[in-house]
């Protein structure tokens, strides 16, 4: 097995091997296993990254079988960025979970193996080269994500997970029927080959519609968002962060792969505007709902609904600028949302509740956590300097340059609404009324406060990376060679 081959397989194989070990070896070896996983995947990604930067998109046939019967792995700039996002958020949230689940609960026993399987499915999804393996990885992702959402075993969480599962399965079957039609019509499953072979016609359109519908359901895009807020808000803190930061991104990643690589000409049509409209509605509706929430974790979950909407603007704004902005939105939202959910979890843990209107004085008791919330909030409400700002700035420029001013209005309104809901939380948290006493809090461990802070700092720092990001993004991009 060559060096590159190992680098491409390790991110999938390592978590798969460690998952049963986590179950068998128990609590004492947990930290060691985790460190091995984080270092192993990081090392493999570094090598793969070097290969992609040097030689362009990499392709590897697992076991030497090759398509159509074998499984191909494919890594380009976009895949690398998503793998790095998963590695970054995954490692930090794992560190958080190590402290969070420390007390030998049954929950913890179940969390670790399932989370590693989830990590494996995410890596496999980002590396998959054909639409059927994408289906398999998407299903693995669902089958790992839903049990995590149900981890607490409380009735609310179970009910939310059930709804999540039903929606996810509906989405999968729609997607799979689309795959069947594509295979029936064009005789291949490979994304690149399909890109050459697909010709416009009723069959291709029905297939695209089914695949898109399935993925929109899985990505919780308005009006299919109903499963997301309860499932994400009722999960244990580290799980909420992982679900919101990473899992929904899997379906969105697939959506752009299909639209821009299998159907490269579809984005210019009415369909692109329609998807943009769904995105705009997600932004406005999600932000509005976030503003109305009573509980902090639900507010953060509705904010995810809104932030996912921004990504859909890549379809009407399909040029290098819009592409750069949308992918950056995925990355910065990943880090910012993980930070927000962990911070919200800290508040919940400290106060015993997360009712926004009763957060008085939390700013004095948990200064680091509230600072983290504000820092991550900067990107969410698209204020400079942050990755979230840069992402929306690029989208805004793409909208104005292509003369589609209506998307610019949506972007500005979304930012304004986001600022309102972030400041609403901060307002309650920072202003302690003089006559009221400071709330009694159970102070979380320092690690639990520092890890979200680190995530929030990264979400801001992404706004400053610039060139390395664009260089990597350009490799294998449908808009390769154009400057955003």
């Amino acid at each position: 097995m060559s060096f590159t081959a190992a680098a491409a397989v390790v991110p999938v194989l390592l978590p798969l091997l460690v998952a049963p070990l986590m179950l068998l070896l128990g609590q004492r070896s947990r930290a060691a296993l985790l460190i091995i996983t984080v270092i192993g995947i990081g090392w493999a990604l570094l090598i793969l990254n070097g290969q992609v930067l040097e030689l362009g998109p990499q392709r590897y046939a697992v076991g030497g079988w090759g398509a159509p019967l074998g499984i191909d792995l494919y890594a380009d700039g976009l895949a690398m960025l998503m793998l790095w996002l998963t590695w970054g958020v995954g490692s930090l949230v794992s560190g958080y979970a190590l402290v969070y689940f420390a007390h030998g609960e049954a929950k913890a026993e179940r969390f670790w193996p399932i989370w590693l399987l989830l990590w494996m499915s995410l890596n496999a999804l980002f590396l998959a080269a054909d639409i059927f393996n994408l289906y398999v990885t998407l299903e693995l992702l669902t089958l790992a994500a839903v049990p995590l959402a149900a981890l607490t075993g409380e009735t609310e969480a179970l009910r939310a997970s059930m709804r999540y599962l039903l929606f996810a399965l509906l989405g999968s079957f729609c997607y799979m029927l689309g795959v069947a039609l594509l295979y029936g019509g064009f005789g291949t499953l490979d994304i690149m080959q399909l890109g050459w072979l697909v010709t416009p016609g009723p069959l291709a359109w029905v297939a695209l519609a089914l695949i898109t519908l399935g993925l929109l359901i899985k990505a919780a895009i308005f009006p299919f968002h109903v499963w997301l807020p309860p499932a994400h808000a009722n999960a244990p803190t580290p799980v909420s962060a992982l679900l919101s930061a990473l899992v929904v991104k899997g379906a969105l990643y697939l959506l752009v792969r299909i639209w821009f690589q299998v159907f490269p000409n579809a984005g210019t049509l009415v369909a692109g505007q329609l998807l943009g409209l769904l995105g705009a509605m997600a932004i406005l509706y999600g932000s509005w709902q976030a503003l109305r929430q009573v509980r902090l974790k639900l507010l953060v979950a509705y904010s995810t609904v809104a932030q996912l909407g921004y990504f859909l603007l890549v379809f009407p704004l399909a040029n290098a600028t819009g592409w750069g902005g949308a992918i950056l939105q995925l990355l910065s939202h990943g880090f910012a949302k993980a930070a927000l959910f962990l911070a919200a979890g800290n508040v919940l843990h400290a106060l015993g509740h997360d009712r926004i209107a009763q957060l008085h004085g939390v700013g004095m008791q948990l200064p680091i956590t509230v600072f983290t919330f504000a820092l991550a909030g900067i990107g969410i409400m698209s204020m400079p300097p942050s990755g979230g700002f840069l992402a929306k700035w690029l989208l805004l420029r793409a909208a104005l340059e292509s003369g589609q001013w209506w998307w610019a209005i949506v972007l500005l309104c979304g930012g304004l609404l986001a600022a309102t809901y972030v400041f609403r939380v901060l307002g309650y948290a920072l202003l302690a009324p003089a006559e009221q006493q400071l709330p009694k809090v159970v102070k979380p461990a320092l690690t639990l406060e520092l890890i979200p802070l680190l995530l929030a700092l990264i979400s801001v720092a992404i706004g400053f990376v610039g060139m390395p990001y664009l260089t990597l993004l350009d490799i294998g991009s449908p808009f390769s060679g154009q400057q955003p």
């Binding site: 179970l158 599962l165 399965l169 039609l181 295979y183």
Partner: protein, 100 residues
């Protein structure tokens, strides 16, 4: 209409029936069954595809259906366990309300 095309349409019809059941029925058990009907519809379309050339059978759709079946069985098993847990908790809640 030739045979594969007939089966493809039957598959599509099953998909539609399943979708209808999923949307219309409120009971979770019925929803799970409806999803399985939908899934079988998709699998039938795949099987029909394998015979689109009357002389050779294409093995790839068969491989895909096998994979799909495994996934669908595990997903159904998991959904049933969730359902059982939900039902048990609802029962416990009811009896505790009855007692107090």
């Amino acid at each position: 209409m030739n045979q594969p095309l007939f089966f493809a349409w039957v598959g599509a019809a099953l998909f539609g029936i399943g979708l209808y059941g999923l949307l219309v029925h409120g009971h979770l058990m019925r929803k799970i069954v409806a999803l399985n009907v939908m899934g079988n519809g998709v699998f039938l379309v795949f099987i029909a595809l394998a015979r689109r050339d009357p002389l050779v059978t294409d093995p790839i759709p068969h491989a895909m259906v096998l994979t799909g079946l495994v996934i669908s069985v595990s997903a159904t098993a998991f959904a049933l366990v969730l359902l059982k847990r939900l039902a048990r908790q609802a029962q416990a809640q009811e009896s505790s309300e009855h007692d107090s």
